[in-house]
């Protein structure tokens, strides 16, 4: 599915790399968690995979379904099936949620979207993520609470049906009930689409109580220093990043 090979990247115009010789392989149907202290490059990795304009890859490669995606623009990566659920979704005044979703669906499927079917599908999906129908007609993310923004991201995910999902700090800004709703929708999606892979970026293992994960990686000093299972995440919760001996243990990516 996704393979990152010896990736080094940085903010355009800067000299220092944020990620250095970073490697990670995520197979079909696997759920990976990336944890690490603030400023270690977790969100940078997410944006580099998506092709964010502020970052440049200076070395290495990112393969999706065995093909390099570095030369693809952002929308091409998305249409291949990569979905970045953003930490702080962008507010776009004037562009209605429904017009945005309908356009995105048309572009991703390559088919003309029937308005009646679209609205019916949306109403069902919005109920599933506990979003009020009126939000379809409001400007994109304008005036949405933190929880509503995250639910709106999940709504888009359900609609666009990606193959590889990056959840960048999904749990930030979500109360317990909203987190439960959002995770239930993600689990249902994985159940319906079992080859879908997930990369969960988080500071806290709370989300692991709701989503079953296969691997937990610790990112530090610009690369993955340790890989384990969910026990590692709870160990970090208890001991902190400095308390866990990250130099020992089996690193799946070495």
């Amino acid at each position: 599915m996704l393979e990152i090979k010896n990736l080094s990247c940085r903010v355009k115009g800067e000299e220092e790399n944020i990620l250095e010789d970073f490697s990670l392989k995520i197979n079909d149907g696997e759920v990976h968690v990336l944890m690490g202290p603030n400023g270690t490059g977790k969100s940078t990795l997410a944006k580099a995979i998506m092709g964010h304009y502020k970052y440049e890859v200076v070395n290495g490669d990112i393969l999706f379904d065995n093909e390099s995606i570095l030369d693809l623009d952002v929308s091409e990566r998305a249409r291949k099936g990569i979905f970045l659920c953003m930490q702080d979704p962008t507010v776009i005044e004037g562009v209605s949620n429904s017009e945005f979703l309908r356009t995105a669906l048309g572009e991703v499927t390559g088919e003309k979207v029937n308005l009646y079917t679209f609205i019916k599908d949306m109403e069902k999906s919005m109920e599933e993520v506990s979003l009020d129908n009126s939000m379809l007609h409001r400007s994109l993310n304008l005036g949405f609470s933190g929880g509503e923004k995250k639910k709106n991201e999940i709504l888009q995910l359900k609609l666009l049906k990606p193959k590889f999902i990056i959840l960048d700090e999904l749990d930030s800004g979500l109360d317990v009930d909203s987190l439960r709703v959002v995770c239930k929708n993600i689990n249902d999606y994985i159940k319906d689409n079992p080859t879908t892979s997930l990369l969960i970026i988080t500071h806290y293992p709370r989300i692991l109580e709701y989503i079953k994960v296969d691997f937990v990686h610790i990112l530090k000093d610009k690369k993955i220093l340790k890989t384990g299972n969910e026990t590692l995440a709870f160990e970090i919760e208890k001991e902190g990043f400095t308390g866990v001996n990250i130099m020992t243990g089996n690193d799946r990516n070495e």
Partner: protein, 190 residues
């Protein structure tokens, strides 16, 4: 209930209004210039003016709102898109006369440059009364990279991103689309 007016211009035109009731004016301009002068001639009335212009050559939009009576309220929103490397200029005057107290006089002006055009905004508030609430805002620039990234990250191609953003920028939620068909077609051409 406000009176609602629609204007769709393809040629240069000037307008003069003396208002005596609550009024909403939607003014759409395709590559043309206008001088607009509006006087609020009755106490306690409200004016909402929404200007949307698409520009290909050198054009201007000048609007003057005169608060001739007390307790009058004006909100002026001017949105322009400068498509090519030409001049697009706004001159926006909010005027509150000496005997007009407790007025609200606001204006919000934005021009999006789609290439390297020379756009300018002159927001003027000429207030001759101490008891007035008045604000202005002006922005000239391009669509935000962050907005385009977000739209593209959902699979939307660059051209479609611009169409969405242009529609959002130029067409308000309450506009009757049947009345501005020519303008909607023009957005498709940008």
């Amino acid at each position: 209930m406000s009176k609602i007016l629609y204007i769709v211009d393809k040629d240069n035109k000037d307008y003069n209004y003396s208002l005596k009731e609550d009024t909403i004016i939607y003014h759409f301009s395709i590559n043309s210039s206008s001088n607009v002068e509006i006087t609020l001639d009755k106490e306690d009335i409200n004016l909402y003016y929404y200007y949307s212009g698409i520009n290909y050559n050198d054009n201007y939009f000048n609007i003057k709102v005169i608060h001739n009576k007390s307790n009058t309220h004006s909100e002026v929103f001017n949105h322009g898109v400068n498509v090519k490397d030409n001049v697009f200029s706004f001159k926006v005057d909010g005027i509150v006369l000496k005997d007009s107290s407790k007025c609200i006089c606001n204006q919000d002006n934005q021009i999006i440059n789609m290439s390297d055009g020379k756009s300018s905004i002159l927001p003027n508030l000429i207030i001759d009364n101490y008891d007035v609430d008045s604000n202005h805002a002006a922005y000239i620039g391009k669509f935000r990279d962050e907005d385009i990234f977000y739209l593209e990250s959902r699979g939307i191609r660059r051209n479609s991103c611009y169409k969405l953003l242009l529609n959002g920028f130029l067409i308000g939620n309450d506009v009757d689309l049947d009345k501005i068909k020519d303008f909607l077609l023009e957005i498709e051409k940008v």
